[in-house]
Amino acid sequence: MLARARSSGAPSIAVVGTSKNAGKTVVIAALAHALARAGEPFAVCSIGRDGEAADALDSAPKPRLFLRPGATLATAAVLVPRSPALEIVAVTGERSALGPIVLARVRAAGNVEIAGPPSAAALRRIVRALGADGRLVLVDGAVDRVAALRDGEDAVVVAVGAASAQTAERALDDVEALVARLRLPRADSGADAVRIEGALTASAAAAFARTGERRQIVVADPTHVAFGGRTFLELAARLDLRCERTLRVIACTVAPLGAERSFEPRAFARAVAARTKLPAYDVFAGSVEEPAAA
């Protein structure tokens, strides 16, 4: 996955999930581990809060984020660990739900918690600050904040897990729809278009479909399409949906084993690759399913 991101020259990789507990932090931790092993400088930030021992909402255990010296991170000042001490690089003007956000460098290996700003604009500023000296920035993200990414430059990885849906088929619909939405093609400036101010809702899209709209329907970026799943797939097949700012989705990851249900790992990864036409990585199994093979 890193090789794909590197070859595309992406300055950051945002990992977004089809739902909570889709395995985003596990992917971030795995990428961090791989980057540390390769001796490449990198930084980590989050749109929410990650790396804590237990979920603040349901107290379920959460994957930890273990960083080694050289890594940089953005986190809330109150989450800076007492030990091992971090090197505090800057106190930014941005705030998370837990207070001001600081940039810090890891000087001794240890677990860290990261917390980020609630707005896409603030996240963009944090990502720019972290990547200012050319280091790759890993963003533990959220679908509605990927608008913070640079037009067509940053890489996006979509995580889907067994916790995402009641059945494997439903999870596959969700990930296929999310990937298709995030990969909306750029609007053709030479063709007729209906430009949508704000978000395109399911009912508005259905109305366009009913009237047989043939023009491009253009939103600012993929996050301005306010519906997903099977509804998106059906409507997208009947409409020419486009966007002004495109995103670059490079891969999917699967977390087939959830607390309440599990999907057969290899079959699930293979199906994700087939439905999304993207490589599907199973970080737990250390394997990848390529779309062509699938």
Binding site: R82, A85, A108
Partner: protein
């Protein structure tokens, strides 16, 4: 009355504009601003001293003021950190980082601006605390609890790193064994999945199975004795590092606590310095004069500008006509519509607000007293959302409230009081009000269209010059901007002292004509005159 002016009066005389123009950019300046109170009658000495400091600062080069202000604005607000240190709290690394930034800002200001030149009497540099934090400061001004703080820390960290390496090796050995068994490249930390169809032979003892299905096993590493021993050893070393790091923080926190009182004073001084520099920059930007603060209730100014209006006119390519005025006691301003009567009141109020806030005034020269209340009566005296009262009712209530304050040295600005009632009764009320203000020794200026409101020998009567010529209509469809420019060119905005009985100039019909009112209607109005 606690406030020097009501909100409605402040709006009328441009106080929000003024406060925004001298607003601090930094946290320390904002905190200092919260402590500020306007100067009132009785504070003349303090006001003169404050204006003297601004005058001194305003003499500095603009670039020097800009650097000084930027440095102060960048200084963090560490009040809560200092309080925590003073009550014996152990500070965190972000606190030390912020304190380092503050100390940098203080040291920079000392070298950049020699702040004592602006009247800052408190020592700003704190070399002892800077030295205490220095081992943690990097070239890029970051902060790290460096080994140099404590020789034992260096040794403990080296030990922890070594034991981490031992544990990593032990764990890697197990992980490689499992990876070989499972036919995978590597095994991740935490839980991992093994596919049954790749496994051959019995499961190795280093593998703990958490869940199994016909197709896969969800596992984690089960540490063997050497790995468990390495883990225990690593955790013990990490605990020792944590203990020593906390010891360094506690020592640094005590150093901060001992300097906290002086640092708080320095922060206050820095904040006040930003307010001073903001005023000096305002003075430079608007070519202001330092007003002479008078002891008696009289004032005089020349070439004065009401800056909010001057700025708005400038945005429309028009120029504000500065005004001059001398006033002791009560004055009445008469003049045509659009002649600047209200602007004259606002200008006076704005200058008085500037003096009260220790801000140089936008005028060529000025002599002003301090007041214990600045009141605005008449149009605009009450908040616009006071829907339960008619405009006349609202004016009367505002007047009653003002008279109830019993201010000893008020400045009263009266804009067409009672103009919405019958002219005869409105005039009677205005005359009575002016007499009452005169009895109370107030300084007041009233704008009105009414004639004969100036009691003989007691009230100064000022008249706006009015239209020098009738602004012509060019017959084309009305271009409002052009019409306003023509009126402005024809209007003499100067205030002149005139005879008490002089009739107010009446240019209303000519102005209505210039503003494009129907020609037949204008002609009929002229007949009626």
């Amino acid at each position: 009355m606690n406030a020097l002016w009501t909100e409605a009066c402040g709006e009328a005389i441009g106080v929000p504009w003024l406060l925004a123009a001298i607003a601090p950019n930094g946290a320390l300046g904002r905190r200092a601003r919260e402590r500020e109170r306007p100067f009132r009658h009785g504070d003349e000495s303090e006001a003169r001293a404050a204006l003297g400091r601004v005058a001194k600062a305003a003499a500095a080069a603009p670039e020097r003021l800009a650097s000084l202000r930027a440095t102060i604005a960048a200084a963090p607000e560490v009040g809560a950190t200092l309080v925590r240190a003073r009550v014996g709290g152990v500070l965190g690394d972000v606190d030390f980082f912020e304190l380092g930034r503050l100390l940098d800002a203080l040291a920079e200001i000392v070298t950049l601006a020699a702040p004592e030149a602006f009247g800052a009497a408190v020592p700003l540099d704190h070399p002892a605390l800077r030295a205490a934090l220095a081992p943690g400061r990097t070239a890029s001004r970051a902060f790290y609890l460096d080994d140099a703080f404590d020789p034992e820390l260096a040794a403990a960290r080296a030990e922890a790193a070594a034991r981490q390496a031992v544990y990593d090796t032990a764990r890697s050995r197990l992980a490689e064994r499992i990876a070989r068994f499972a036919g995978t490249e590597n095994v991740r930390d935490g839980e991992f999945v093994l596919m049954r169809d790749r496994l051959e032979g019995p499961l190795p003892p280093e593998l703990r199975v958490l869940r199994e299905t016909p197709a896969y096993l969800l596992c984690e590493l089960s540490l063997d004795e050497p790995a468990l021993a390495a883990l225990g050893s690593r955790d013990a070393a990490a605990a020792r590092v944590a203990e020593l790091e906390e010891r360094v923080r506690a020592r640094l926190s005590r150093e901060v606590a001992s300097a906290a009182a002086a640092l708080e004073l320095a922060c206050d001084t820095l904040g006040e310095l930003e307010l001073l520099v903001a005023r000096a920059q305002f003075a430079q930007r608007h070519a202001c004069a330092i007003p002479e603060i008078a002891d008696d209730a009289s004032l005089a100014f020349s070439g004065a500008r009401y800056l909010p209006l001057a700025q708005a006119l400038e945005e429309h390519g028009r120029r504000y006509a500065p005004i001059s005025l001398e006033l002791a006691g009560i004055g009445v301003v008469t003049g045509p519509n659009m002649g600047g009567k209200t602007a004259a009141l606002r200008t006076l109020g704005f200058l008085a607000a500037c003096a009260a806030l220790g801000v140089p005034v936008p005028a060529d020269s000025a002599r002003l007293p301090l007041f214990d209340e600045i009141a605005w009566l008449g149009i605009g005296a009450a908040p616009e959302d006071d829907a339960l009262l008619s405009s006349f009712g609202a004016e009367v209530v505002a007047l009653r409230t003002f008279l109830g304050h019993g201010a000893a040295r008020p400045l009263v600005l009266i804009d067409e009081f009672a103009r919405t009632t019958s002219p005869r009764e409105g005039r009677a009320l205005l005359v009575a009000l002016l007499e009452r203000l005169q009895e109370r020794g107030a300084l007041a200026l009233a704008a009105t269209h009414l004639a004969h409101v100036t009691p003989k020998g007691a009230v100064s009567h000022f008249a706006i010059g009015g239209l020098r010529e009738l602004p012509s209509r060019d017959g084309a469809p009305l271009d409002l901007e052009a019409a306003l420019r023509r009126i402005a060119a024809a209007m003499d905005y100067r205030l002149r002292r005139v005879d008490e009985d002089a009739l107010p100039p009446a240019d209303a019909i000519a102005l209505a004509d210039a503003l494009g009112l129907d020609e037949q209607l204008i002609a009929r109005a002229k007949e009626e005159m």
